[in-house]
Each structure stands twice: as C-alpha cells, then as structure tokens.
C-alpha cells in the first residue's frame, strides 16, 4: 500500500518573545493510503502541531514533510494554498462554518477554487450533503442546525472536493456521546467504504476506537511502540 504521509526528522519550534520552544522533536512517521489514524496524547504533546504540518497549515522548522506524493515543507504560501485545496479536507472541533451562508453554500466553498460550473458545484455539494445525511437541511443556516448537524455539514465541506486526505482536529470535542458516535461512524464509513485516509486528533479514547490505528504522543514525540 502507498504511503500517503511521510515525515522524516520533523521538528517544530515556536518563538514567543525571547523564548524558543521546541514542540516537535525530530519526528518520523508514515501513514499508508486508506488508513484511519487517531493521534492521542495529553494537552501540549504536539498533536495539533503535527496535524497542522500534515495538513499544510504550518511549515516545519526542520525535516521533510511529504504528503500525497508531494514534498510540502518548502512550498510557498500560494503553492501550499493550492495544494491544500487539491489534497486536504479539514474538520474542526467547532465546525468553523460560515454563519451567514446556508449549509449548501458552506459545502460549496472549496469548489469555488475549482473550474466547476455553478450547476456542477451545486450538484457536488448536494451529493456531499446526501453522504452525510443532510440533503434536507441544505438551505438551513448553521445557527438553525444542531451541533451534530453542523459537524456533518463540516464533513460534507471537507469531502466535497474529493481530497486525498481528511484531517480532523477533535471532531467530536464539542458533541455529546450519542452525536459523537454518529459523527465517528460517519468518518469510519468514509474510511471503509470510500477509502478516505483520515488523520484524527482526539483526547477521547472512545473516539480513538473508531480508528484503525492509535498513535500516542508525549512531549513532542511519538511514544515508541505505536509508530509503524
């Protein structure tokens, strides 16, 4: 199976005032295509930083990040933006939908960056909403939807451009157990039936059980024994 994510010797340092903090230390990781990985660990262990590097939201201080066959650690801001549009779908803890747009318009957002026609964009967004079971809520604004429904709209938005990789940062952190299970089942279905590679950061061991693999991080490194 092809590796979709390869990290070699990746380090990440932040400078806050006069202080420099190394959040990730010389980290190596590979994630094969079609995998569903749960990244776990205590707060401040570097999970989200690692996720940001894999999703092309941030650049490493050292090391090499190769995702979807492309080395992204040296890309310019504009090239990285194009790369994200093509390869990555993001799902956040607080959904991060545009409050003034309908569910349909929110799902269509990533498609604005493609050459698709208006009709095609609409059709693709409708299909994505059908996949997450919200076709009948297409015209609703986020404020008219429950938390679980909003997260499903966010998943539809992440899916709609058919990305290589889904990156989820605490996708159930703001949901009750029942709704969280529904969302996680949906992610599992996307992984199993649609072959989507998923990297999910979570604190919740129950959420992690939906993944194929669990990786644990502590103090900026992956805990030995979990790294493939």
């Amino acid at each position: 199976m092809n590796d979709i994510v390869t990290l070699q010797g990746v380090a990440k340092r932040y400078t806050r005032g006069k202080e420099t903090v190394e959040v990730l230390h010389s980290l190596d990781l590979t994630i094969p295509q079609g995998d569903f990985v749960a990244l776990m660990g205590p707060s401040g262990s570097g999970k989200t930083t690692l996720l940001n590097l894999i999703g092309g939201l941030d650049q490493p201080s050292d090391g090499e990040v190769r995702v979807a066959g492309e080395r992204i650690d040296g890309l310019s801001g504009a090239a990285l933006a194009r790369w994200r549009a093509r390869h990555v779908g993001f799902i956040f803890q607080f959904y991060n939908l545009m409050p003034t747009l309908s569910a349909q318009a929110n799902v269509e957002l990533p498609l604005l960056l493609t050459p698709l026609s208006k009709a095609q964009r609409r059709q693709n967004a409708q299909i994505a909403l059908q996949i997450v079971g919200l076709a009948d809520r297409a015209k609703h604004k986020p404020s008219e939807l429950s938390g679980g429904q909003q997260q499903r709209v966010a998943i539809a938005r992440a899916l709609v451009a058919d990305p290589t990789l889904l990156v989820c940062d605490e996708p159930t952190g703001d949901l009750d157990r029942k709704t969280a299970d529904e969302v996680l089942s949906l992610l599992q279905t996307l992984n199993r039936e649609h072959g989507k590679t998923i990297v999910m950061v979570t604190h919740d061991p129950k959420a992690a059980e939906y993944a194929q693999r669990q990786l644990h991080m502590d103090k900026g490194t992956l805990v030995p024994g979990n790294v493939p």
Binding site: G77, A78, A81, F90, P110
Partner: protein, 382 residues
C-alpha cells in the same frame, strides 16, 4: 461573479452596522452630487463664455457706473466689432426669493453683440415700440406661467421709479427669447434702457458695464488694453476683461464656490474615511476565524485580501450609486438657482472614481491584515 454570494453574505453579517454605514455613504454622495452639480453648473456659465467678447466695467468696482458717452470712444478702438451696454437692475417678482435677472439694454445693439440670444424680429420691434416692454427668457416664462401681452410688475432693489415714487416697475411682456447652447441663460429678461434711464431718480446717463465684441479673438488682450488706455487717468477708468474672466470674477463675488464645495466635501469624506475604515476593520476583526478557515480550504492570501477589498468596494459602490441617484432625482429642484436640470455626467463619473478610491482607502488596511493572517494563530484564537 462566483464569489458574489460570499461577498454579499459577508457584507450583511451585521445588518444594522452595514445599514448605518451604507446610509452615511449615501448621504455623503448625495451631498457630493448636489454640491459638485451646483459647482459644475456655475462653472458651465464660465466655460460657455464667448471668446469673441470683452466685458468692460469700472476700474473701481463692478457696481460703479460708467457714463454712456464712453460708447463712441470704445466703438472707435481698432478691432472692436460692436458695443452694447447693460445695467444691474436687481429685480425680483412678488417675493425677494424670486430673483429675476432683468437687464435694461438697447435691444438692437445687444442682439448684435450677443447673437446667441434669439428673439423674433416682430418681438424686437414690439419692444422698441413699447417703452415698458419686456422680453422674457423661455424658462422664466414657463416658471411663472407668463404669457405675451401680460402686464407684470418687477420690484427693483436699487432703482426707484420717480413717476410713482416706488421701486415697482410695471412691464408689458412683448416677447420671449432663447439662448442657444445654455439653457441656464433663459432665466433672464431684457427691457428698454431708456425706460430705466428716464424714470430712475439717480444715475441718469450711466451704464453698468459694456459688452464689446471683437473682430479677432486673438487680438482680445490688445483691444482690452487699448480700451483701458483710452480711459486711463480719466474720471471713469475702465477694466476690460474677457467674458470668461468677467464670469469668474462675478462668481467670486458670492465667494470661491469651488473652494467652498471642495472644503465641505473634503471634511465629509475625511470623516467618512474613518467611519467606513473602522467598520471594515471591525468586520474583519470579527471574522478572523472565518478568514482563517477560507485560507485552510485553499484560498490564497492574495485571494482573501481581494475578497476583503471587493467587499469594501461593493459597499462603497452601492452606497455611492444610491447617493448619486438621489442627487440626480433632487437636482432638478435647484433649477431656479443653477438653471440646469440634469446633473452633469462628469459629476457622476467623478463620483464613481471617488467611490472606488474610498473603497480602496477604507478596505486597504483590513485587506492587508487579512492577507497577513497566519492560519494556525487565527484558528487558535491568538
């Protein structure tokens, strides 16, 4: 166009704030349209001034009279084609608000020197026959619904009629005139100089200013100089100017309209710059996480910056269009003041340019901040 729904939704994120900002810009552009329209209308009079004519006034002041005996001497200056005269009558109809630019002239001489004024020959003859005759501009006739043959009375703020001791001067309307190429000139009236001269209590045998037509406009400066030289060191020294210069100096009597208009608009737009700029800054500040999400989805820094600028442009252009449209609707009400009924197209064009500049100025800083937004920091609320 595909980004329009996104822009539109962003614009109406806080409806009340957008409405108030929109209204401020609408009012500013309404003011812009009206003031610039008035200014342009006044300037139109200056621009329409004839290059073949000079206006000769007293060197002391425009209000100082000149003796009618100067006419022959001016006419004898080489290069002069014709000489006519006029007197400031200062009239109104029924109410001081209804100012009427009624001018006592020798109609034959006047029409020779100012051929743009068109009067039917039989009406010229009627005026010459009727001492109290009045030829009225077509717009003025329409304004008061006057008819030929009607007898009206104009009140002079300067001249007393010695036959009845009042300032009311009765007139018989004997004809109408139209001024070719400038509708604002059709607000006046002409009557016989001899009527004024015989009946006034002072100033007999004097005129207010001379209107001199020249054979060659290229010689205007030399002819003006020759006229002034002829009366130099006399009791009645003259100041000869081109009609354009005269129109400009006449306008300056009311104040420097151009400067006043620009000063008012400058103050208005300076305030607007901060108001709209602040609104845009606030709007972008509130949407930091949303802008970060757009970048996460693959919108480049430049695209996010363009979206913010486009939103500012949309707000300013819509408001400016509404303001200028209102100005177009209201401007005809000023016809009696400015003499024209349509807002000049160059005022609308300059309004559009100002709207774009305002949008760039108010949207520039928020757009720059949006462009520089770091995704990771913005999503983390830093």
């Amino acid at each position: 166009m595909k980004y329009f729904p996104l822009l539109w939704a962003g614009l109406w994120r806080k409806k009340a704030r957008t409405v108030f900002t929109l209204l401020s810009i609408v009012v500013a552009f309404l003011l812009f349209g009206m003031l610039q329209g008035v200014n342009a209308a006044f300037q139109q009079g200056v621009n329409n001034a004839n290059v073949n004519r000079l206006v000769v006034t007293s060197r002391i002041s425009l209000t100082e009279a000149l003796p009618i005996s100067q006419q022959q001497q001016i006419a004898s200056v080489p290069g002069v084609a014709g000489v006519a005269y006029a007197v400031w009558f200062g009239a109104y109809y029924q109410d001081p608000k209804n100012f009427v630019f009624a001018t006592p002239v020798d109609i034959e001489q006047y029409l020779h020197v100012v051929p743009e004024v068109k009067v039917a020959a039989d009406q010229v003859a009627a005026l010459q026959r009727d001492r109290t005759g009045l030829i009225v501009g077509s717009a003025l006739m329409q304004k008061y619904g006057w008819k030929i043959g009607q007898r009206i009375s104009l009140h002079s703020t300067i001249w007393v009629n010695k036959y009845d001791g009042t300032s009311d001067w009765p007139f018989n309307i004997v004809g109408t005139y139209s001024f070719t190429g400038d509708d604002s000139q059709n607000q006046g009236a002409f009557f016989n100089y001899r009527y004024l001269d015989e009946a006034r209590t002072f100033g007999t045998g004097t005129v207010g200013w001379w209107i001199v037509s020249v054979k060659d406009p290229n010689q205007s400066a030399q002819i003006a100089n020759a006229i002034d030289t002829r009366f130099a060191n006399s009791q009645d020294e003259t100041k000869s100017q081109s009609e354009k210069e005269f129109a400009q100096s006449f306008l300056k009597q009311f104040g420097d309209i151009n400067f006043i208009v620009k000063a008012i608009l400058g103050a208005v737009f300076f305030t607007l710059l901060f108001l709209t700029g602040n609104t845009m800054m606030q709007s972008v500040r509130e949407r930091v996480p949303e802008l970060a999400v757009l970048k996460t989805l693959g919108f480049s820094d430049a695209k996010v910056m363009t979206l913010v600028l486009a939103e500012s442009l949309l707000l300013c252009v819509i408001a400016a269009a509404l303001g200028l449209l209102l100005a177009c609707l209201i401007f005809p009400a000023l016809k009696s003041v400015v003499g024209t009924v349509t807002l000049p197209p160059d005022v609308l064009a300059s309004g559009a340019i100002v709207a774009v500049l305002l949008a760039l100025a108010t949207g520039g800083l928020p757009a720059w901040r949006a462009q520089r937004l770091a995704i990771v920091d913005a999503l983390a609320g830093r």
